[in-house]
Amino acid sequence: MPSKSIYYQYREPSPLRLLWLHMNANPFAVVAFYIFSFLILLMVLSPVIAPYSPDAQFSGAISQPPAWHELGQIQYLFGTDDLGRDLLSRVLAGSVYSLGYPLLATTVAALIGISIGAWAGMSHGVQSSTLNHLLDVVLSIPSLLLALVIIAILGPALHNIMIAITLVLIPQFIHSVHNAFYEERTKDYVAASRLNGCSRWYILTRVIFPNITTVVVMQVTFALSTAILDIAALGFLGLGVQAPAPEWGTMLARSLDQVYLAPWTMILPGVALFLTVLSINVLGDSLRAAIQERVRGT
């Protein structure tokens, strides 16, 4: 059977593929990628692998220390909280609230924000410069403060948090996508397609968009870590996901009262939150580095 590649043919990798190659060269990025994938896997499998139901109370094992402690029991690996609920099961079940819901909010915000940003980036003149200036200013107000105001209007509940976080993330997407479009629009290859008579829609989706995917991916990682931290912070303040739900921030808030008696109740949710945000931040950071390298390389 003849080999398919008899002739040497140089194929320019696509921007996204090039980025992947750069990322693969960085061991930290690879580790972060595996940790993040592992967390996602845990989240998807959490109903199956959690040893107990997150709300099941064991009256015989209240404030049980972790298994390696001399008072600990192996059936409660990371101990139990003050109501006798297994911490490991709660943290696993909580990943749906603390990782799944931010993922959902980021996706929705990205879809809306990218559409508006692309539209603004394609329009000319005063309209887009006003938008840019306004967004500059709106973005200097912290997302948590805006989310707090929206919660004050809607009241604390899971679906209201989702609305608040999504609304808060949209301007960030508009801003970065708009800026990216604005930069690309004046480049020669876009002018060439325009001279070829491509329609606006074609230029938008097939000419410019593939070249700004990297910016979008980076913005998504950034928005995701913001969303995770904001949802956890709102939960911690008691304004987010409400108490019996095993959300990591809410669990931490509860452990604040228990810190004298059961310090282990604050370790596990905190570590989970920290690992999630760290892996996303490392991914985002190495993406940024890879993008810089790619820009320098071309």
Binding site: V137, P142, L145, I153, A232, A233, G249, G270
Partner: protein, 342 residues
């Protein structure tokens, strides 16, 4: 420069005006009666309610209501709290002092440590300490501030017993609250135990300040390191070296002033991050500042207070950002050229 400053100022005025529009409309979006949300006077108090109705133009249309709202806002008449029934404007002044004290001290600490550490990491590029500093700064940047605060309480207050768990000062010292900033209050008070009170206040203060400083600190280290590395590759540094200047001279006279430029640009953003963290930290440490007051008012659905807290925090952040922009453009003319050229 004047043109640029004017542009930023006009933008600031427009944004503050938009903020006032937002605050005004919030009164209608909140559940309940808009007039009560705005002034804090409930309909049970019939006479006062009717007076407020007249004073805030509620007998006319929305436009007149907005004009009166703005008038009240500028005169410092921000209504009364629904819970404590005290004027909101008088309540917020000492709270502001406490928040600013915490924020400024944390920012100062971050700048004081962040710049030297960043420079050090850059000089030792790819050395052991550079890796340690950069690794620590990336992980510290990912720690949620509320967990960090809990860990600090666990370590310093419970295990080591180095500091109290929460609060501003031991109430036994009976310091009168005037500015809200506890250190200033002690200095201007006539308490016979000034020094002891001062030490006690510092004892309470250092944990929240360190917790708050860590996030901006890690960011500043990273920015400073990258910026020093960038500057060291510029031609003017090579030229300075070719002229035979000492390393010390090159660092302090040529590298540092230029490397500080991204730091100045980032200060506004760092201040916004700091304010987010202050809201949470104040709640954890029971610090009597605007942040914990705002969060408490959301639990209590105290709308005049929510409004005032939002107004104060948002306008503070906006003003600091514009101020930083103007200072940045004033100190670094090359930025001005970029802005004017577009």
């Amino acid at each position: 420069m004047i043109r640029y400053s004017l542009r930023r100022l006009i933008l600031l005025v427009i944004t503050l005006w938009l903020l006032s529009l937002l605050l005004f409309s919030l009164n209608y979006w909140y559940p309940g009666d808009p007039l009560t949300n705005m002034s804090g006077i409930t309909a049970n108090n019939t006479i006062a309610y009717q007076q407020a109705e007249l004073a805030r133009g509620f007998d006319h249309g929305l436009l007149s209501q907005y004009v009166h709202f703005l008038e009240h806002l500028i005169h410092g008449d921000w209504g009364i709290s629904l819970v404590t029934e005290q004027p909101v404007f008088d309540e917020i002044k000492p709270l502001m002092g406490a928040t600013l004290e915490l924020g400024l001290l944390a920012m100062a600490l971050a700048l004081f440590l962040g710049i030297p550490l960043g420079v050090y990491a850059a000089i030792q590029q790819r050395g052991l300490l550079d890796r340690v500093i950069m690794g620590l700064s990336l992980s510290a940047y990912s720690i949620p501030v509320f967990w960090l605060a809990q860990l600090f309480i666990l370590l310093f207050a419970l295990k080591l017993n180095w500091s109290p768990i929460s609060g501003q000062i031991n109430p036994l010292y009976a310091i009168n609250v005037q500015t809200g900033s506890v250190l200033v209050d002690i200095l201007i008070s006539d308490s016979p135990y000034k020094t002891a009170a001062f030490y006690n206040a510092l004892h309470h203060l250092w944990v929240p300040v360190v917790v708050l400083a860590i996030m901006p600190l890690t960011m500043l280290i990273r920015i400073m390191r990258n910026s020093v590395l960038d500057v060291l590759q510029q031609n003017y540094i090579k030229a300075a070296r070719a002229r035979g200047l000492t390393d010390r001279h090159i660092m302090f006279r040529h590298t540092l002033p230029n490397a500080l430029q991204p730091i100045v640009r980032q200060l506004g953003l760092q201040f916004s991050v700091l304010m987010t963290n202050i809201i949470i930290t104040e709640v954890i440490f029971n610090w009597p500042g605007v942040g914990s007051w705002l969060v408490k008012s959301i639990y209590e659905r105290d709308f005049p207070v929510i409004q005032a807290g939002l107004l104060v925090l948002a306008s503070l952040i906006l003003m600091v950002n514009v101020f930083v922009d103007v200072v940045h453009a004033w100190r670094y003319p090359q930025i001005r050229k970029e802005i004017d050229a577009e």
